[in-house]
């Protein structure tokens, strides 16, 4: 009786169906997310795929030229076309150059990237990511034709698309300075800083990729970064916390982009944030290159901060903590680090932030 009563009630049934559909949808989304996490691990360098997958279909220059001509003729690339091209690009530089030589073929991939079909957009972004494994002239071509879209799509809601764009941009930044300059004109640095400083509860983990891109900009194109971009980063320094992902790049980026310099007036909160970040982020072990990066550049940023001579009221320094950290760093007896530490000490003495005599008494510097 109860069963018939429930089945004869149409509104309840409708709700039940909607609920089931929603549950199915959540399950599908979860599967998709898990699959995405799995595909994250599947990244290969140029030619590396041949060693890893033996049953791979061998695609040569003629195949690539054929596919390029076909997509150009049709003015459209299917998911399968882009999949095959992606694989071909992974197999060698010759394939990449062959595709780059076909006039108008890259534009078709760009067209798919900017279309309204999400799956094809993702495939196009992944295809461009593999295409960016090519040499500087290839990266220049990608930047000229798709750079603005890659930067725009960093705001996309689709995680795989966003991540592919970040990877592509990373490859381009590492290859070609001219392309890096062009991308910086598209205000890439500001956009990357926004992603880099996303709160740590964002589980997608874009911060790591954005941090790498900023690291590459700081290494290869620091001089090309605009005043506006520098100002934006300076104003938003406090948004990155030491416990968040990719925090090891923070001090390197701040130092290389000269965020703390005599041309820029940082406010008291920013100075305090930099000091607190350094203290919290420090791992004196010097065991990994990440530890070394955060320590060496943290010392340099701190030295520059003291050179800016913040007033005593602006900074809350604890003498005991600072001296303790400096002693541990001097004890590492790394030549270049010791030189930076001496400069830091000199700037600290000149800034008169602490009792200089007391600092010198407690310091243990090795000859």
């Amino acid at each position: 009786m109860e069963l018939t009563a429930t089945t004869s009630e149409p509104p309840g049934q409708v709700n039940d169906t909607a609920l089931r559909l929603r549950t199915r949808e959540y399950a599908r989304q979860q599967r998709k997310d898990l699959r995405m996490d799995t595909t994250d691990a599947l990244r290969f360098g140029l030619g590396q795929i041949k060693d890893k997958i033996s049953e791979l279909e061998n695609l040569g220059i003629k195949d690539v030229q054929g596919m390029a001509s076909r997509i150009k003729r049709r003015k459209h690339a299917t998911e399968e076309d882009m999949y095959r091209l992606s694989h071909a690009f992974l197999q060698g530089n010759a394939n990449i150059n062959a595709f780059a030589e076909v006039q108008g073929a890259t534009q078709v991939i760009v067209k798919e990237l900017t279309g309204t079909h999400m799956q094809r957009q993702i495939e196009a972004a992944e295809c461009l990511c593999n295409f960016s494994l090519g040499e500087a002239h290839v990266c220049e071509k990608i930047t000229a034709l798709a750079g603005s879209y890659l930067v725009t799509l960093l705001n996309s809601q689709e995680p795989r698309l966003k991540r592919s764009c970040l990877w592509t941009l990373g490859n381009i930044l590492a290859t070609c300075r001219k392309s890096a300059n062009m991308l910086l004109q598209m205000q890439l640095a500001t956009k990357l800083w926004k992603i880099y400083t996303l709160p740590s509860d964002d589980l997608r983990g874009y911060q790591e990729d954005a941090g790498i891109c900023l690291y590459l900009i700081a290494t290869h194109a620091a001089s090309s970064i605009s005043v506006d971009d520098r100002r934006h980063i300076a104003e938003n320094l406090h948004k990155k916390q030491p416990a968040e992902p990719a925090a090891e790049y923070y001090m390197y980026i701040v130092f290389q982009l000269e965020i703390v310099s005599k041309e820029r007036d940082l406010c008291a909160q920013h100075f305090q944030h930099l000091y607190d970040f350094f203290m919290a982020n420090l791992n004196i072990g010097f065991n990994t290159s990440a530890d070394k990066l955060r320590t060496v550049y943290g010392v340099r940023v701190l030295a520059n901060m003291f050179a800016a001579r913040p007033s005593v009221g602006q900074l809350e320094l604890q003498l005991e903590q600072l001296v303790n950290v400096l002693n541990q760093l001097f004890a590492l007896r790394d030549t270049s680090l010791t030189m930076d530490l001496m400069q830091l000490l000199k700037n600290l003495m000149d800034a008169q932030l602490l009792d200089n005599e007391l600092v010198l008494e407690h310091l243990r510097v090795y000859a």
């Binding site: 998911e79 900017t114 494994l133 490859n171 205000q187 290159s289 340099r300 050179a307 930076d340």
Partner: protein, 226 residues
């Protein structure tokens, strides 16, 4: 900097003061070759491996996504789409510009007045504003290195839209009978022997204005036949 080479000795306070006295206070700049070798290993460029099964699966699920309303909604939610004209844009900023420039009457009035620049740059982070869409386009091409045929450009749509709008204005003022256009029956009433499926098909609604124009054209054609 001349540090004494004896390794095990700690520097005295006086020695430290002497060394510091020789130094000049100042900034360490990134141009100084302090360390010759980079700390991190050279960045290795990596591609991404596409799993073809995923593409096949996505293709297979494509049909149900159109049939199933729930799935269709989640696919749509990846885009920023205009509720009025259903145009899909990749970012919130571009959608904001689209709505303001094409569907905001206050904005249109402000543009006509022309007392201040209103067209914001396509890049969200850029604060520049322009009097004309063409000025913005030039700015984006020259300064931000955008391609000439930028796909999310609103200018072309603005032109066609403004032409349509002029016609609409003309109809409101001059042609009284044409104000009844909004009261015309829905196109789906015509079937021409082919029964139409009665569903909540959103794709039909996309071009509702267009459909109304078609009705008008069809009415005229029918009158001609008579």
């Amino acid at each position: 900097m001349n540090l004494e080479t004896s390794s095990e000795l700690l520097l005295t306070k006086e020695q430290l003061q002497n060394i510091l006295a020789k130094l000049t206070a100042g900034y360490i700049t990134s141009a100084e070759p302090i360390t010759t070798t980079p700390i991190l290993p050279q960045y290795k460029k990596l591609g991404v491996l596409v799993d073809f099964d995923e593409i096949v699966e996505a293709k297979a699920t494509k049909v149900p996504t159109y049939k199933n309303i729930v799935n269709a909604k989640t696919t749509q939610s990846q885009y920023y789409s205009c509720i009025q004209c259903r145009r899909q844009l990749p970012t919130a900023h571009l959608l904001d510009l689209h709505i303001t420039e094409l569907h905001d009457l206050y904005f249109a009035a402000s543009v006509e007045r022309g007392d201040k620049p209103l067209y914001a740059c396509y890049i969200e982070e850029c604060t520049m504003k322009f009097y004309m869409p063409s000025e913005r386009k030039d700015h984006c091409i020259t300064l931000h290195k955008f391609p000439v045929n930028y796909r999310f450009d609103q200018e072309k749509i603005t032109k066609t839209k403004s032409r349509k709008k002029k016609d609409a204005d003309a109809m409101d003022v001059d042609n009284v009978p044409s104000s009844n256009v909004g009261k015309l029956p829905y196109i789906k009433a015509f079937s021409f022997g082919h029964p139409t499926q009665r569903t909540f098909n959103t794709r039909k609604e996309r071009g509702s204005d267009k459909a109304l124009n078609d009705v008008q054209a069809m009415k005229e054609a029918l009158e001609d036949m008579d």
